[in-house]
Amino acid sequence: MKKALFHITVFVIVVLSLLPFLWFVNTSLKTSLEITSIPPVFIPSGTVQSYVSAMKDYNLLHYVANSVYVAGATTVITIFLSVLAGYALARLRIKYKGLLMGSLLLVSMFPQISIAGPVWRILDGLGWLNSYQGLIIPYVTLTLPLGVWILASFFSELPQELEDAARIDGCGHLQTLLRIMVPLAAPGVFTAAILIFIYAWNEFFFALLIMTRQTVQTLPVGIALFQGQFTLPWGEIAAASTVATVPLVLIVLLFQKQIVRGLSSGAIK
């Protein structure tokens, strides 16, 4: 009896987690007639008409390319800066360590609206609205706390002896960091990179403010603003949504251990 209840709970959790999105994927494979039919069509005809239309009429691939570029560049830059700062905060003797870590934590909790106006003005002044760097810079700023915290936690777990040995062998500080510590902290780098990429790939608020020209917009902005002539183009929205989500689902399936570790690394300490 108890066991049955447990299994039912597991079943309900899995179904509720997956079904809504599977329904949307299902919608993306329907004809427009099937999408609006009542009762709903549960087994779609499997047409890719919506995908073709999303690419031809709505420039889907353009949005994908912009998203790949912005999220990729954000990940690379944030990781590079986080490795440097995370190492310094975890392993070097510095003053105000707590204050620096605390201020990063604070930044990670900023509501975007509290900085939106000024960031927009600064970018406007630099002529960087509607440019890739104009979006990448805020993304780097907002993902740095996450990257630094994860990497600092990974660096602090490495044994001191390795670092000492490298020193004795005559490695300078920078060499020790790059040759010895970074390879050892590779799992941390990878974990942080996944979480940063997902953040940048999904971000909508700043993308909406900064990218007002269609040619530079990222996928979430595209998906939010798809407009049909008379009704909403649900097939195309569902198709673009599937395209935006499938890479993330693959990442989750392949790297769930790293993601779980990264998300809970702050909680355990």
């Binding site: 509501p111 609206i113 900085i115 989500t245 909680a267």
Partner: protein, 299 residues
């Protein structure tokens, strides 16, 4: 002159920290204070000839009398309360389930991560479709093929608000679950074994052992979820645009509309400052609670 080892280490450490904190200072800390500066001025984006005259606290006085702003504030607080409550509740249930050993556990964990990974804009469109008034799944589940009974869920103040809460809870309960799970895994099995020998029921074990020991994890999940719920924007933008009649308008969306849709950079910035202070105070309050609860545990 030869520098001491410690001095050299300090210089090296600072040079590693400078690039990171340049970003943080220029694009996060400076903008927050700049928001405060803007909020003391009258700045209208569409009227550059106006300049930016200093108006003191006028914008704040207007904000105080702004009915929509008050409504957005109470909506935001209600949203934060409801969504974090259900997220922690479901997060706890999910975490307790995954914490057991059973076949297919890894797959279940992957399944609950899917809503977390989906872009919020995508899940917003998805729920908007599911709540659709003409061919949405919710209408079909309630009323079958009787289309005359179909309700426009997102056009009714009460159900529109509920829809946004549901969409948020669906997407982020798994995040709370992972944090709580990390706390659960720190509890040694011996505690439960000892309790069993003493004849404690399962419910007693839960309330006497599990709950007190995962308190820090619960508080951390609560902190992160509260801060995140305060920023709710994507769901509102896609699903309701704050409507019907401001019933789902929230502070971040209202601020966005004032600053960017209406171009009221000065007045809109008062909302930015207000949101910043509210979240700052709540964050400090939680961090203090977490600090004391971790401290008690160590004792």
């Amino acid at each position: 002159m030869k520098l001491s080892l410690i001095a050299r280490e300090r210089i090296f450490a600072s040079s590693l920290l400078v690039p990171c904190f340049l970003f943080v200072v220029f694009f996060a800390l400076y903008p927050v204070s700049y928001s405060f500066f803007l909020s003391l001025h009258k700045i209208i984006l569409g009227l550059p000839s106006l300049g930016q005259p200093f108006v003191g606290l006028d914008n704040y006085r207007d904000l105080f009398h702004d009915q929509v702003a008050r409504h957005s504030l109470s909506n935001t607080l209600l949203f934060v309360f409801l969504s974090t409550f259900f997220e922690l509740l479901f997060g706890l249930i999910i975490a307790l389930v995954i914490n057991r050993q059973f076949r297919g556990r890894g797959l279940v964990r992957a399944a609950i991560l899917v809503p977390w990974a989906i872009p919020t804009v995508v899940s917003s469109q998805m729920w908007r479709f599911i709540f659709n008034d003409k061919y949405g799944l919710v209408n079909f589940l309630f009323y079958g093929s009787h289309t005359s009974l179909y309700a426009a869920w997102l056009a009714n103040p009460l159900t529109a608000f509920a829809a946004i809460v549901i969409a948020d809870v669906w997407k982020t309960s798994s995040f709370a679950a992972l944090i709580i799970l990390a706390g659960l895994q720190l509890i040694p099995d011996e505690l439960y074994e000892a309790a069993e020998m003493d004849g404690a029921s399962e419910w007693q074990q839960f309330t006497q052992i599990t709950l007190p020991l995962i308190k820090p994890a619960l508080l951390i999940a609560l902190l992160f979820r509260t801060m995140d719920a305060f920023r709710v924007f994507d769901l509102v933008f896609v699903m309701t645009q704050g409507g019907p009649g401001d019933s789902t308008n929230v502070l971040q969306f209202y601020g966005y509309k004032k600053i960017f849709a209406e171009g009221l950079m000065g007045y809109g910035s008062t909302i930015s400052v207000l949101v910043f202070f509210i979240t700052f105070i709540i964050a400090l309050f939680y961090l203090k609670l977490i600090g004391t609860s971790l401290f008690q545990e160590k004792q």
